[in-house]
Protein backbone atom coordinates (compact mmCIF):
# COMPACT_ATOMS: atom_id res chain seq x y z
CA UNK A 1 0.00 0.00 0.00
CA UNK A 2 1.29 3.40 -0.88
CA UNK A 3 1.06 5.92 1.87
CA UNK A 4 -0.21 9.32 0.81
CA UNK A 5 2.81 11.14 -0.47
CA UNK A 6 2.28 14.64 -1.70
CA UNK A 7 5.68 14.72 -3.33
CA UNK A 8 4.32 12.75 -6.28
CA UNK A 9 3.14 14.56 -9.31
CA UNK A 10 -0.59 14.95 -9.80
CA UNK A 11 -1.71 13.19 -12.96
CA UNK A 12 -5.35 14.09 -13.04
CA UNK A 13 -7.18 16.65 -10.98
CA UNK A 14 -10.89 17.17 -10.71
CA UNK A 15 -11.59 20.69 -9.49
CA UNK A 16 -15.01 21.87 -8.32
CA UNK A 17 -16.71 19.79 -10.97
CA UNK A 18 -20.47 19.76 -11.22
CA UNK A 19 -22.62 18.07 -13.83
CA UNK A 20 -26.27 18.61 -14.52
CA UNK A 21 -28.48 16.87 -17.04
CA UNK A 22 -31.38 19.26 -17.42
CA UNK A 23 -32.68 19.64 -13.90
CA UNK A 24 -30.97 16.52 -12.61
CA UNK A 25 -27.81 17.11 -10.63
CA UNK A 26 -25.60 14.10 -11.34
CA UNK A 27 -22.52 15.48 -9.62
CA UNK A 28 -22.07 18.46 -7.36
CA UNK A 29 -18.78 20.03 -6.44
CA UNK A 30 -16.39 17.14 -6.93
CA UNK A 31 -12.76 17.63 -5.84
CA UNK A 32 -10.07 15.00 -5.93
CA UNK A 33 -6.86 14.14 -7.70
CA UNK A 34 -5.01 11.09 -8.92
CA UNK A 35 -1.28 10.97 -8.27
CA UNK A 36 1.31 9.48 -10.53
CA UNK A 37 1.80 5.75 -10.14
CA UNK A 38 -1.12 5.05 -7.84
CA UNK A 39 -4.23 2.94 -8.19
CA UNK A 40 -7.20 5.06 -7.24
CA UNK A 41 -10.69 3.64 -7.12
CA UNK A 42 -13.93 5.48 -7.45
CA UNK A 43 -16.79 3.63 -5.80
CA UNK A 44 -20.34 4.28 -4.84
CA UNK A 45 -23.78 2.71 -5.02
CA UNK A 46 -25.80 2.66 -8.24
CA UNK A 47 -26.70 6.14 -9.36
CA UNK A 48 -24.00 7.77 -7.24
CA UNK A 49 -22.48 9.39 -10.34
CA UNK A 50 -19.53 7.07 -10.95
CA UNK A 51 -20.07 6.69 -14.68
CA UNK A 52 -20.75 10.41 -15.08
CA UNK A 53 -17.51 11.19 -13.24
CA UNK A 54 -15.71 8.67 -15.44
CA UNK A 55 -17.06 10.20 -18.62
CA UNK A 56 -16.08 13.67 -17.43
CA UNK A 57 -12.54 12.52 -16.76
CA UNK A 58 -12.20 10.99 -20.20
CA UNK A 59 -13.63 13.97 -22.02
CA UNK A 60 -16.76 12.16 -23.21
CA UNK A 61 -18.78 14.72 -21.26
CA UNK A 62 -17.98 18.34 -20.53
CA UNK A 63 -18.74 19.43 -16.96
CA UNK A 64 -21.40 22.07 -16.34
CA UNK A 65 -19.04 23.72 -13.89
CA UNK A 66 -15.41 23.23 -12.85
CA UNK A 67 -12.47 21.74 -14.70
CA UNK A 68 -10.77 18.41 -15.18
CA UNK A 69 -7.05 18.79 -15.72
CA UNK A 70 -4.64 16.17 -16.90
CA UNK A 71 -1.06 17.11 -15.99
CA UNK A 72 -2.10 20.73 -15.90
CA UNK A 73 -3.92 20.65 -19.25
CA UNK A 74 -7.65 21.27 -19.12
CA UNK A 75 -9.53 18.58 -21.02
CA UNK A 76 -12.38 20.90 -21.89
CA UNK A 77 -12.81 21.31 -25.63
CA UNK A 78 -10.40 18.53 -26.57
CA UNK A 79 -11.65 15.79 -28.86
CA UNK A 80 -11.49 12.22 -27.62
CA UNK A 81 -8.61 11.29 -29.90
CA UNK A 82 -6.66 14.33 -28.73
CA UNK A 83 -7.16 13.23 -25.14
CA UNK A 84 -5.85 9.81 -26.12
CA UNK A 85 -2.82 11.52 -27.64
CA UNK A 86 -2.08 13.00 -24.20
CA UNK A 87 -1.71 9.47 -22.88
CA UNK A 88 -5.06 9.26 -21.12
CA UNK A 89 -6.73 6.05 -22.28
CA UNK A 90 -9.99 4.52 -21.13
CA UNK A 91 -11.57 1.10 -21.42
CA UNK A 92 -15.25 0.41 -21.85
CA UNK A 93 -17.64 -1.61 -19.80
CA UNK A 94 -19.67 -3.28 -22.52
CA UNK A 95 -18.12 -2.76 -25.93
CA UNK A 96 -14.52 -3.31 -25.15
CA UNK A 97 -13.29 -4.88 -28.42
CA UNK A 98 -13.46 -4.71 -32.22
CA UNK A 99 -15.59 -7.86 -32.55
CA UNK A 100 -14.95 -8.73 -36.21
CA UNK A 101 -11.18 -8.56 -35.95
CA UNK A 102 -8.81 -11.09 -34.46
CA UNK A 103 -7.34 -10.52 -31.03
CA UNK A 104 -4.02 -9.72 -32.65
CA UNK A 105 -5.57 -7.19 -35.03
CA UNK A 106 -7.43 -5.63 -32.13
CA UNK A 107 -4.12 -4.89 -30.48
CA UNK A 108 -2.73 -3.65 -33.79
CA UNK A 109 -5.59 -1.16 -34.05
CA UNK A 110 -4.77 -0.09 -30.52
CA UNK A 111 -1.21 0.58 -31.67
CA UNK A 112 -2.53 3.22 -34.08
CA UNK A 113 -0.88 6.09 -32.25
CA UNK A 114 2.55 4.46 -32.49
CA UNK A 115 2.71 3.50 -36.11
CA UNK A 116 2.15 6.79 -37.84
CA UNK A 117 3.90 6.79 -41.19
CA UNK A 118 3.14 9.14 -44.03
CA UNK A 119 0.37 8.22 -46.42
CA UNK A 120 2.75 8.03 -49.35
CA UNK A 121 5.08 5.66 -47.50
CA UNK A 122 2.15 3.47 -46.54
CA UNK A 123 0.53 3.34 -49.97
CA UNK A 124 3.73 2.63 -51.84
CA UNK A 125 4.99 0.17 -49.24
CA UNK A 126 8.27 2.02 -48.85
CA UNK A 127 10.92 0.62 -46.49
CA UNK A 128 10.02 3.04 -43.71
CA UNK A 129 6.41 1.84 -43.76
CA UNK A 130 7.49 -1.80 -43.84
CA UNK A 131 9.84 -1.34 -40.91
CA UNK A 132 7.15 0.44 -38.91
CA UNK A 133 4.63 -2.28 -39.76
CA UNK A 134 7.05 -4.99 -38.68
CA UNK A 135 7.80 -3.19 -35.42
CA UNK A 136 4.09 -2.81 -34.73
CA UNK A 137 3.41 -6.48 -35.38
CA UNK A 138 6.19 -7.48 -33.02
CA UNK A 139 4.91 -5.11 -30.38
CA UNK A 140 1.38 -6.47 -30.80
CA UNK A 141 2.59 -10.05 -30.51
CA UNK A 142 4.45 -9.12 -27.36
CA UNK A 143 1.36 -7.49 -25.83
CA UNK A 144 -0.86 -10.43 -26.69
CA UNK A 145 1.66 -12.69 -24.96
CA UNK A 146 1.89 -10.40 -21.98
CA UNK A 147 -1.85 -10.36 -21.46
CA UNK A 148 -1.91 -14.15 -21.74
CA UNK A 149 -4.07 -14.54 -24.84
CA UNK A 150 -1.46 -16.02 -27.14
CA UNK A 151 -3.58 -19.10 -27.76
CA UNK A 152 -6.51 -16.98 -28.89
CA UNK A 153 -4.49 -14.52 -30.96
CA UNK A 154 -6.02 -15.57 -34.28
CA UNK A 155 -9.61 -15.88 -33.04
CA UNK A 156 -12.17 -13.19 -33.67
CA UNK A 157 -12.44 -11.02 -30.60
CA UNK A 158 -16.24 -11.24 -30.77
CA UNK A 159 -16.07 -15.00 -30.27
CA UNK A 160 -14.17 -14.79 -26.99
CA UNK A 161 -15.66 -15.21 -23.54
CA UNK A 162 -16.66 -12.14 -21.59
CA UNK A 163 -13.62 -12.22 -19.38
CA UNK A 164 -11.26 -12.72 -22.30
CA UNK A 165 -12.83 -9.79 -24.15
CA UNK A 166 -12.06 -7.64 -21.13
CA UNK A 167 -8.44 -8.72 -21.38
CA UNK A 168 -8.39 -7.81 -25.06
CA UNK A 169 -9.87 -4.43 -24.14
CA UNK A 170 -7.05 -3.87 -21.66
CA UNK A 171 -4.41 -5.08 -24.13
CA UNK A 172 -5.53 -2.67 -26.81
CA UNK A 173 -5.74 0.14 -24.30
CA UNK A 174 -2.16 -0.66 -23.28
CA UNK A 175 -1.18 -0.69 -26.95
CA UNK A 176 -2.10 2.97 -27.08
CA UNK A 177 0.70 3.52 -24.53
CA UNK A 178 -1.25 5.17 -21.75
CA UNK A 179 0.42 7.15 -19.04
CA UNK A 180 -2.85 6.85 -17.22
CA UNK A 181 -5.45 4.15 -17.69
CA UNK A 182 -9.09 4.52 -16.71
CA UNK A 183 -10.92 1.26 -16.24
CA UNK A 184 -14.72 1.27 -16.24
CA UNK A 185 -16.02 -1.61 -14.08
CA UNK A 186 -13.51 -4.06 -15.54
CA UNK A 187 -14.49 -7.08 -13.45
CA UNK A 188 -18.28 -6.81 -13.56
CA UNK A 189 -19.59 -10.14 -14.76
CA UNK A 190 -16.35 -11.97 -14.08
CA UNK A 191 -16.17 -14.96 -11.78
CA UNK A 192 -13.93 -15.07 -8.72
CA UNK A 193 -10.89 -16.62 -10.36
CA UNK A 194 -11.09 -14.31 -13.38
CA UNK A 195 -11.34 -11.38 -10.99
CA UNK A 196 -8.33 -12.59 -9.08
CA UNK A 197 -6.27 -12.81 -12.29
CA UNK A 198 -7.47 -9.38 -13.30
CA UNK A 199 -6.38 -7.84 -10.00
CA UNK A 200 -2.92 -9.24 -10.59
CA UNK A 201 -2.99 -7.76 -14.08
CA UNK A 202 -3.92 -4.32 -12.79
CA UNK A 203 -0.98 -4.45 -10.37
CA UNK A 204 1.35 -5.48 -13.18
CA UNK A 205 0.15 -2.59 -15.31
CA UNK A 206 0.82 -0.18 -12.46
CA UNK A 207 4.29 -1.67 -12.08
CA UNK A 208 4.92 -0.74 -15.70
CA UNK A 209 4.53 2.86 -14.62
CA UNK A 210 0.91 3.43 -15.59
CA UNK A 211 -1.32 5.36 -13.22
CA UNK A 212 -4.70 3.69 -12.82
CA UNK A 213 -8.15 4.99 -12.05
CA UNK A 214 -10.69 2.30 -11.42
CA UNK A 215 -14.45 2.64 -11.30
CA UNK A 216 -15.81 -0.52 -9.76
CA UNK A 217 -18.71 -2.19 -8.02
CA UNK A 218 -16.93 -5.21 -6.63
CA UNK A 219 -16.02 -4.20 -3.08
CA UNK A 220 -13.57 -6.97 -2.16
CA UNK A 221 -11.72 -6.37 -5.41
CA UNK A 222 -11.53 -2.64 -4.83
CA UNK A 223 -10.37 -3.07 -1.24
CA UNK A 224 -7.67 -5.49 -2.34
CA UNK A 225 -6.19 -3.56 -5.22
CA UNK A 226 -6.51 0.16 -4.47
CA UNK A 227 -3.98 2.50 -2.96
CA UNK A 228 -6.69 5.04 -2.30
CA UNK A 229 -10.43 5.05 -2.63
CA UNK A 230 -12.88 7.87 -3.29
CA UNK A 231 -16.45 7.12 -2.30
CA UNK A 232 -19.32 8.87 -4.04
CA UNK A 233 -22.93 9.05 -3.00
CA UNK A 234 -25.69 11.18 -4.46
CA UNK A 235 -23.18 13.02 -6.61
CA UNK A 236 -20.82 14.08 -3.87
CA UNK A 237 -17.75 12.65 -2.19
CA UNK A 238 -18.51 11.20 1.21
CA UNK A 239 -15.14 9.70 2.01
CA UNK A 240 -11.63 9.50 0.68
CA UNK A 241 -8.59 7.53 1.87
CA UNK A 242 -6.80 4.20 2.01
CA UNK A 243 -8.85 0.98 2.01
CA UNK A 244 -8.38 0.66 5.77
CA UNK A 245 -9.79 4.10 6.36
CA UNK A 246 -12.69 3.51 4.00
CA UNK A 247 -13.47 0.13 5.51
CA UNK A 248 -13.92 1.66 8.91
CA UNK A 249 -15.54 4.92 7.88
CA UNK A 250 -18.98 5.07 9.46
CA UNK A 251 -20.36 7.27 6.70
CA UNK A 252 -19.33 4.74 4.08
CA UNK A 253 -20.67 1.80 6.01
CA UNK A 254 -23.95 3.55 6.50
CA UNK A 255 -24.41 5.25 3.16
CA UNK A 256 -22.74 2.88 0.77
CA UNK A 257 -22.87 -0.52 2.39
CA UNK A 258 -26.19 0.16 4.06
CA UNK A 259 -27.94 -2.69 5.75
CA UNK A 260 -26.02 -5.90 6.20
CA UNK A 261 -22.86 -3.86 6.35
CA UNK A 262 -21.34 -6.12 8.91
CA UNK A 263 -21.52 -9.14 6.60
CA UNK A 264 -19.95 -7.27 3.76
CA UNK A 265 -17.19 -5.98 6.00
CA UNK A 266 -16.51 -9.51 7.07
CA UNK A 267 -16.39 -10.68 3.49
CA UNK A 268 -14.04 -7.87 2.63
CA UNK A 269 -11.79 -8.71 5.55
CA UNK A 270 -11.73 -12.35 4.52
CA UNK A 271 -10.75 -11.44 0.98
CA UNK A 272 -8.04 -9.03 2.02
Amino acid sequence: MTVQSNSRETMLSVENVAMQFGGLVALSDLNFSVREGEILSLIGPNGAGKTTAFNLMTGFLTPTRGTVKYRGTALKGLKSHEIADLGLIRTFQRTSVFPRDTVFDNVLIGLHRQGKVSLLDAMLGLPRARASERAQRERAAELVRWIGLEARANDLAGSLSYGEQRLVGVALALAAQPKMLLLDEPVSGMNASETHTFVQLIRNIRDRGVTILLVEHDMPMVMGVSDRIVVLNYGRIIAEGTPDVIRNDPAVIEAYLGQGARQVSKKVAAHA
Binding site: D101, L108, A153, N154, A173
Partner: protein
Protein backbone atom coordinates in the same frame (compact mmCIF):
# COMPACT_ATOMS: atom_id res chain seq x y z
CA UNK B 1 0.01 -17.80 -51.29
CA UNK B 2 -2.33 -14.87 -51.73
CA UNK B 3 0.29 -12.96 -53.60
CA UNK B 4 0.77 -15.86 -56.01
CA UNK B 5 -2.96 -16.03 -56.71
CA UNK B 6 -3.06 -12.26 -57.27
CA UNK B 7 -0.17 -12.45 -59.71
CA UNK B 8 -1.77 -15.42 -61.46
CA UNK B 9 -5.01 -13.47 -61.92
CA UNK B 10 -3.04 -10.53 -63.26
CA UNK B 11 -1.27 -12.82 -65.75
CA UNK B 12 -4.58 -14.30 -66.88
CA UNK B 13 -6.01 -10.82 -67.43
CA UNK B 14 -2.85 -9.80 -69.26
CA UNK B 15 -3.05 -12.83 -71.55
CA UNK B 16 -6.70 -12.29 -72.52
CA UNK B 17 -5.99 -10.38 -75.77
CA UNK B 18 -3.74 -13.23 -76.91
CA UNK B 19 -6.61 -15.68 -77.18
CA UNK B 20 -9.53 -13.29 -77.46
CA UNK B 21 -9.50 -11.49 -80.79
CA UNK B 22 -13.16 -10.47 -80.94
CA UNK B 23 -13.21 -6.62 -80.81
CA UNK B 24 -16.73 -6.54 -79.39
CA UNK B 25 -15.74 -8.67 -76.40
CA UNK B 26 -12.52 -6.73 -75.94
CA UNK B 27 -14.55 -3.53 -75.89
CA UNK B 28 -16.82 -5.02 -73.22
CA UNK B 29 -13.76 -6.01 -71.20
CA UNK B 30 -12.33 -2.49 -71.38
CA UNK B 31 -15.50 -0.78 -70.17
CA UNK B 32 -15.92 -3.48 -67.53
CA UNK B 33 -12.34 -2.81 -66.42
CA UNK B 34 -13.05 0.90 -66.11
CA UNK B 35 -16.11 0.24 -63.97
CA UNK B 36 -14.16 -2.25 -61.87
CA UNK B 37 -11.70 0.55 -61.04
CA UNK B 38 -14.64 2.74 -60.03
CA UNK B 39 -16.12 -0.13 -58.00
CA UNK B 40 -12.78 -0.67 -56.23
CA UNK B 41 -12.78 2.99 -55.22
CA UNK B 42 -16.33 2.68 -53.93
CA UNK B 43 -15.32 -0.43 -52.00
CA UNK B 44 -12.68 1.56 -50.15
CA UNK B 45 -15.45 3.71 -48.68
CA UNK B 46 -18.28 1.19 -48.41
CA UNK B 47 -16.29 -1.88 -47.47
CA UNK B 48 -13.55 -0.45 -45.30
CA UNK B 49 -15.19 2.53 -43.61
CA UNK B 50 -18.84 1.48 -43.88
CA UNK B 51 -19.86 4.76 -45.53
CA UNK B 52 -22.20 4.35 -48.49
CA UNK B 53 -21.56 6.90 -51.22
CA UNK B 54 -24.67 6.81 -53.41
CA UNK B 55 -23.32 9.62 -55.52
CA UNK B 56 -20.06 8.00 -56.32
CA UNK B 57 -20.65 8.46 -60.02
CA UNK B 58 -20.14 12.19 -59.45
CA UNK B 59 -16.42 11.66 -58.92
CA UNK B 60 -16.31 9.40 -61.95
CA UNK B 61 -18.12 12.00 -64.07
CA UNK B 62 -16.03 14.90 -62.76
CA UNK B 63 -12.92 12.94 -63.70
CA UNK B 64 -14.33 12.36 -67.18
CA UNK B 65 -15.26 16.01 -67.73
CA UNK B 66 -12.06 17.45 -66.24
CA UNK B 67 -9.93 15.17 -68.36
CA UNK B 68 -11.93 15.77 -71.53
CA UNK B 69 -11.98 19.56 -71.09
CA UNK B 70 -8.25 19.68 -70.33
CA UNK B 71 -7.56 17.82 -73.56
CA UNK B 72 -10.12 19.70 -75.67
CA UNK B 73 -9.65 23.20 -74.35
CA UNK B 74 -12.52 25.65 -73.83
CA UNK B 75 -13.48 29.28 -74.12
CA UNK B 76 -16.05 30.24 -71.53
CA UNK B 77 -17.53 33.73 -71.01
CA UNK B 78 -17.74 34.49 -67.30
CA UNK B 79 -18.79 38.15 -66.95
CA UNK B 80 -19.47 40.31 -69.98
CA UNK B 81 -16.47 40.17 -72.26
CA UNK B 82 -14.28 38.38 -69.76
CA UNK B 83 -13.52 34.93 -71.06
CA UNK B 84 -11.67 32.06 -69.48
CA UNK B 85 -9.72 30.44 -72.26
CA UNK B 86 -7.89 27.17 -72.02
CA UNK B 87 -5.79 25.83 -74.85
CA UNK B 88 -5.73 22.05 -75.17
CA UNK B 89 -3.21 20.19 -73.07
CA UNK B 90 -2.05 16.58 -73.51
CA UNK B 91 -4.59 14.03 -72.22
CA UNK B 92 -2.08 12.68 -69.70
CA UNK B 93 -2.20 15.99 -67.86
CA UNK B 94 -5.98 15.72 -68.01
CA UNK B 95 -5.70 12.29 -66.39
CA UNK B 96 -3.64 13.70 -63.51
CA UNK B 97 -5.93 16.73 -63.10
CA UNK B 98 -8.95 14.42 -63.11
CA UNK B 99 -7.50 12.55 -60.12
CA UNK B 100 -6.59 15.74 -58.26
CA UNK B 101 -9.87 17.56 -58.82
CA UNK B 102 -12.02 14.51 -58.09
CA UNK B 103 -9.96 13.94 -54.96
CA UNK B 104 -10.54 17.54 -53.93
CA UNK B 105 -14.30 17.08 -54.43
CA UNK B 106 -14.05 13.96 -52.25
CA UNK B 107 -12.40 16.13 -49.62
CA UNK B 108 -15.23 18.70 -49.77
CA UNK B 109 -17.98 16.10 -49.58
CA UNK B 110 -16.15 14.29 -46.79
CA UNK B 111 -15.59 17.44 -44.77
CA UNK B 112 -19.22 18.45 -45.19
CA UNK B 113 -20.80 15.18 -44.21
CA UNK B 114 -18.45 13.18 -42.02
CA UNK B 115 -19.17 15.19 -38.92
CA UNK B 116 -22.65 13.71 -39.11
CA UNK B 117 -22.15 10.57 -41.20
CA UNK B 118 -24.38 7.56 -41.86
CA UNK B 119 -27.58 8.48 -43.65
CA UNK B 120 -26.42 12.08 -43.99
CA UNK B 121 -23.40 11.01 -45.97
CA UNK B 122 -25.66 9.06 -48.32
CA UNK B 123 -27.90 12.11 -48.78
CA UNK B 124 -25.02 14.53 -49.30
CA UNK B 125 -23.42 12.28 -51.90
CA UNK B 126 -26.68 11.80 -53.84
CA UNK B 127 -27.33 15.54 -53.81
CA UNK B 128 -23.76 16.28 -54.83
CA UNK B 129 -24.03 13.96 -57.83
CA UNK B 130 -27.33 15.52 -58.88
CA UNK B 131 -25.98 19.07 -58.60
CA UNK B 132 -22.93 18.17 -60.66
CA UNK B 133 -25.12 16.50 -63.28
CA UNK B 134 -27.29 19.62 -63.55
CA UNK B 135 -24.21 21.80 -63.93
CA UNK B 136 -22.92 19.55 -66.71
CA UNK B 137 -26.33 19.68 -68.38
CA UNK B 138 -26.86 23.43 -68.17
CA UNK B 139 -23.45 25.06 -68.41
CA UNK B 140 -23.58 24.69 -72.15
CA UNK B 141 -20.69 27.07 -72.87
CA UNK B 142 -18.35 24.77 -70.97
CA UNK B 143 -19.77 21.30 -71.35
CA UNK B 144 -21.89 21.56 -74.53
CA UNK B 145 -24.75 20.33 -72.32
CA UNK B 146 -26.74 17.48 -73.86
CA UNK B 147 -24.89 17.97 -77.15
CA UNK B 148 -21.97 16.18 -75.50
CA UNK B 149 -18.25 16.73 -75.66
CA UNK B 150 -17.04 15.00 -78.78
CA UNK B 151 -13.73 14.18 -80.41
CA UNK B 152 -11.97 13.73 -77.11
CA UNK B 153 -8.40 12.74 -77.99
CA UNK B 154 -7.04 9.35 -76.99
CA UNK B 155 -4.44 9.18 -74.26
CA UNK B 156 -0.91 9.67 -75.53
CA UNK B 157 2.03 8.32 -73.61
CA UNK B 158 5.71 8.86 -74.16
CA UNK B 159 8.68 10.95 -73.17
CA UNK B 160 10.22 13.89 -74.98
CA UNK B 161 13.03 12.56 -77.14
CA UNK B 162 11.83 8.97 -77.00
CA UNK B 163 8.77 9.29 -79.17
CA UNK B 164 5.07 9.16 -78.42
CA UNK B 165 2.42 6.53 -78.61
CA UNK B 166 -1.26 7.36 -79.14
CA UNK B 167 -3.37 4.71 -77.43
CA UNK B 168 -6.04 4.40 -80.07
CA UNK B 169 -6.57 0.66 -80.55
CA UNK B 170 -8.61 -1.57 -78.28
CA UNK B 171 -5.57 -3.64 -77.47
CA UNK B 172 -3.61 -0.62 -76.24
CA UNK B 173 -6.55 0.64 -74.24
CA UNK B 174 -7.05 -2.78 -72.71
CA UNK B 175 -3.52 -2.77 -71.33
CA UNK B 176 -3.84 0.84 -70.19
CA UNK B 177 -6.99 0.02 -68.20
CA UNK B 178 -5.39 -3.15 -66.84
CA UNK B 179 -2.34 -1.19 -65.70
CA UNK B 180 -4.41 1.48 -63.95
CA UNK B 181 -6.63 -1.18 -62.39
CA UNK B 182 -3.64 -3.15 -61.11
CA UNK B 183 -2.05 -0.01 -59.72
CA UNK B 184 -5.29 1.02 -58.00
CA UNK B 185 -5.66 -2.46 -56.55
CA UNK B 186 -2.10 -2.36 -55.27
CA UNK B 187 -2.47 1.09 -53.71
CA UNK B 188 -5.77 0.21 -52.03
CA UNK B 189 -4.31 -3.07 -50.75
CA UNK B 190 -1.35 -1.23 -49.25
CA UNK B 191 -3.58 1.36 -47.72
CA UNK B 192 -6.03 -1.00 -46.04
CA UNK B 193 -3.24 -3.13 -44.62
CA UNK B 194 -1.45 -0.12 -43.19
CA UNK B 195 -2.39 1.55 -39.94
CA UNK B 196 -4.64 3.88 -41.93
CA UNK B 197 -6.69 0.88 -42.99
CA UNK B 198 -6.79 -0.48 -39.46
CA UNK B 199 -8.04 2.89 -38.25
CA UNK B 200 -10.84 2.68 -40.83
CA UNK B 201 -11.77 -0.84 -39.74
CA UNK B 202 -11.68 0.16 -36.11
CA UNK B 203 -14.05 3.05 -36.74
CA UNK B 204 -16.43 0.84 -38.67
CA UNK B 205 -16.55 -1.84 -35.99
CA UNK B 206 -16.59 0.17 -32.79
CA UNK B 207 -16.30 3.89 -33.15
CA UNK B 208 -16.32 4.81 -29.45
CA UNK B 209 -13.49 2.44 -28.74
CA UNK B 210 -11.52 3.51 -31.82
CA UNK B 211 -11.73 7.14 -30.75
CA UNK B 212 -10.66 6.23 -27.24
CA UNK B 213 -7.42 4.68 -28.48
CA UNK B 214 -6.60 7.84 -30.39
CA UNK B 215 -8.07 7.42 -33.88
CA UNK B 216 -9.14 10.69 -35.46
CA UNK B 217 -12.56 10.06 -37.05
CA UNK B 218 -12.87 13.00 -39.42
CA UNK B 219 -9.30 12.78 -40.61
CA UNK B 220 -9.46 9.04 -41.28
CA UNK B 221 -12.77 9.15 -43.11
CA UNK B 222 -11.89 12.24 -45.13
CA UNK B 223 -8.67 10.58 -46.21
CA UNK B 224 -10.61 7.54 -47.40
CA UNK B 225 -13.04 9.79 -49.27
CA UNK B 226 -10.21 11.69 -51.00
CA UNK B 227 -8.43 8.55 -52.19
CA UNK B 228 -11.67 6.89 -53.19
CA UNK B 229 -12.80 9.94 -55.17
CA UNK B 230 -9.37 10.29 -56.78
CA UNK B 231 -9.42 6.71 -58.06
CA UNK B 232 -12.98 7.14 -59.30
CA UNK B 233 -11.76 10.26 -61.14
CA UNK B 234 -8.99 8.23 -62.77
CA UNK B 235 -11.59 5.72 -63.97
CA UNK B 236 -13.71 8.58 -65.35
CA UNK B 237 -10.72 9.97 -67.23
CA UNK B 238 -9.98 6.58 -68.80
CA UNK B 239 -13.62 6.35 -69.79
CA UNK B 240 -13.61 9.79 -71.46
CA UNK B 241 -10.50 9.09 -73.49
CA UNK B 242 -11.58 5.61 -74.49
CA UNK B 243 -15.22 6.29 -75.46
CA UNK B 244 -14.13 9.73 -76.73
CA UNK B 245 -17.56 11.27 -76.25
CA UNK B 246 -19.22 12.17 -72.96
CA UNK B 247 -22.51 13.77 -72.10
CA UNK B 248 -24.26 14.47 -68.77
CA UNK B 249 -25.52 10.89 -68.76
CA UNK B 250 -22.19 9.83 -67.27
CA UNK B 251 -23.70 11.14 -64.02
CA UNK B 252 -26.65 8.74 -64.23
CA UNK B 253 -27.71 7.34 -60.87
CA UNK B 254 -27.89 3.85 -62.35
CA UNK B 255 -24.11 3.88 -62.77
CA UNK B 256 -23.65 4.30 -59.02
CA UNK B 257 -26.13 1.49 -58.47
CA UNK B 258 -24.13 -0.74 -60.83
CA UNK B 259 -20.96 0.00 -58.83
CA UNK B 260 -22.74 -0.80 -55.57
CA UNK B 261 -24.02 -4.07 -57.06
CA UNK B 262 -20.51 -5.01 -58.15
CA UNK B 263 -19.10 -4.29 -54.68
CA UNK B 264 -21.87 -5.91 -52.66
CA UNK B 265 -22.13 -9.07 -54.77
CA UNK B 266 -18.38 -9.53 -54.95
CA UNK B 267 -18.02 -8.84 -51.26
CA UNK B 268 -17.59 -5.47 -49.67
CA UNK B 269 -14.54 -5.13 -47.52
CA UNK B 270 -12.63 -7.66 -49.58
CA UNK B 271 -10.02 -6.43 -52.04
CA UNK B 272 -10.90 -8.90 -54.76
CA UNK B 273 -14.65 -8.48 -54.23
CA UNK B 274 -15.23 -5.61 -56.68
CA UNK B 275 -13.10 -7.37 -59.28
CA UNK B 276 -15.11 -10.58 -59.11
CA UNK B 277 -18.44 -8.74 -58.86
CA UNK B 278 -17.38 -6.40 -61.64
CA UNK B 279 -16.43 -9.19 -64.02
CA UNK B 280 -19.77 -10.93 -63.41
CA UNK B 281 -22.04 -7.90 -63.68
CA UNK B 282 -19.94 -6.12 -66.27
CA UNK B 283 -19.95 -9.04 -68.69
CA UNK B 284 -23.36 -10.54 -67.89
CA UNK B 285 -25.22 -8.15 -70.25
CA UNK B 286 -22.80 -9.08 -73.04
CA UNK B 287 -23.63 -12.76 -72.78
CA UNK B 288 -27.34 -12.20 -72.24
CA UNK B 289 -27.76 -9.86 -75.22
CA UNK B 290 -27.66 -12.52 -77.98
CA UNK B 291 -30.06 -14.86 -76.23
CA UNK B 292 -32.86 -12.69 -74.88
CA UNK B 293 -34.69 -9.38 -75.38
CA UNK B 294 -33.64 -6.33 -73.29
CA UNK B 295 -36.44 -6.63 -70.71
CA UNK B 296 -35.58 -10.25 -70.00
CA UNK B 297 -31.92 -9.25 -69.72
CA UNK B 298 -32.66 -6.84 -66.89
CA UNK B 299 -34.87 -9.36 -65.15
CA UNK B 300 -32.13 -11.98 -65.38
CA UNK B 301 -29.60 -9.44 -64.16
CA UNK B 302 -31.74 -8.77 -61.08
CA UNK B 303 -32.36 -12.48 -60.62
CA UNK B 304 -28.65 -13.26 -60.59
CA UNK B 305 -28.05 -10.50 -58.06
CA UNK B 306 -30.76 -11.80 -55.75
CA UNK B 307 -29.49 -15.36 -56.14
CA UNK B 308 -25.93 -14.35 -55.24
CA UNK B 309 -26.96 -12.38 -52.18
CA UNK B 310 -29.40 -15.08 -51.10
CA UNK B 311 -26.83 -17.86 -51.24
CA UNK B 312 -23.79 -15.78 -50.30
CA UNK B 313 -25.04 -12.88 -48.20
CA UNK B 314 -21.54 -11.65 -47.41
CA UNK B 315 -20.64 -11.61 -51.09
CA UNK B 316 -18.78 -14.04 -53.29
CA UNK B 317 -15.18 -13.53 -52.23
CA UNK B 318 -15.54 -13.48 -48.41
CA UNK B 319 -17.62 -16.68 -48.59
CA UNK B 320 -15.63 -18.63 -51.12
CA UNK B 321 -12.05 -17.56 -50.35
CA UNK B 322 -11.80 -19.51 -47.06
CA UNK B 323 -13.14 -22.64 -48.80
CA UNK B 324 -10.34 -22.39 -51.33
CA UNK B 325 -7.78 -21.82 -48.60
CA UNK B 326 -7.13 -18.28 -49.74
CA UNK B 327 -8.21 -16.46 -46.61
CA UNK B 328 -5.65 -13.95 -45.55
CA UNK B 329 -3.94 -15.16 -42.42
CA UNK B 330 -4.74 -12.25 -40.19
CA UNK B 331 -3.11 -11.61 -36.92
CA UNK B 332 -0.37 -14.20 -37.17
CA UNK B 333 2.00 -13.89 -34.26
CA UNK B 334 5.16 -15.78 -35.10
CA UNK B 335 8.04 -14.16 -36.94
CA UNK B 336 7.48 -16.40 -39.94
CA UNK B 337 3.83 -15.49 -40.02
CA UNK B 338 4.78 -11.83 -39.92
CA UNK B 339 6.70 -12.34 -43.15
CA UNK B 340 3.73 -14.10 -44.69
CA UNK B 341 1.40 -11.31 -43.65
CA UNK B 342 3.74 -8.75 -45.11
CA UNK B 343 3.93 -10.61 -48.38
CA UNK B 344 0.19 -10.93 -48.52
CA UNK B 345 -0.16 -7.19 -48.23
Amino acid sequence: MNRIVTLLCLLIFASVPLWLQDPYLLNALITTGIFIIAAMSLNLLLGFTGQLSLGHVAFFGIGAYVSALTALGFDVPIVGDFHVVHVPWPPVIGFVLAILISGFCGYLVGRLSFSVRGAYFVIVTISFAEVVRLVALNWVELTQGPLALTNIPSITIGLPGLGYLVLKTKLQNYYLVLAVAALSYFLIARLVHSHYGRAMRGLMENETLAVAVGIDVTRTLTLAAIISAGIAGAAGSLYAHYIRIIDPDVFAFITTVTMVIMVVSGGKGSLAGPVVGGVIFGLLPVFLRPIMPPEAQWITYGGVLIAILFVLPRGIVPTLAPLLGLARKRGATSAKAIDVAEEGA
